[in-house]
Symmetry: C2
Subunit: 89 residues, 2 copies
């Protein structure tokens, strides 16, 4: 099994990629979510769920076929990490 | 106790206003979320949590003081209903 990108873990059954991002302000959270929406439009891949409040976003990525996350989901997770910038923890 | 706006229910302890919105497409979901972000900036009120996927959004509104939702939260809920348009269920 591949190693999840930094900060992500495999959760659930079948496993989904999950990561929590925390931000210093609503503005940062909003910028992250806007970037994520752009990334979804570009790739045609949408997280199965995004749950957010003013200063956090929890993201779950599933494989579209209901199986385990594969290369495409790992690549998307890595690109989401790049969106979050150094401010995210 | 006030009657929650159409489609909303009181949930949890202390109770929070909750409603699930369903949409016909990711585009509709995205338009709704963008409108909600604009409404948050205008009012300075942010839902405690928004959890969404491609065709739904679940929204939880809490009172900022940890008490029961009051007139301000009810008014925000009604404005969120207006955003969703006739397509939402």
């Amino acid at each position: 099994m591949m190693e999840p990108p930094e900060g992500w873990e495999l959760r659930g059954r079948p496993p989904a990629l999950f990561r929590r991002f925390e931000f210093g302000s609503y503005r940062e959270t909003r910028l992250f979510l806007d970037g994520l929406a752009d990334l979804s439009e570009e790739t045609g891949m949408h997280p199965q769920n995004i749950s957010f409040g003013t200063t956090y976003a929890n993201i779950t990525l599933e494989a579209p076929d209901g199986g385990e996350p594969g290369q495409e989901e790992y690549a998307l997770a890595a690109r989401i990490n790049a969106l979050s910038g150094p401010a995210a923890s």
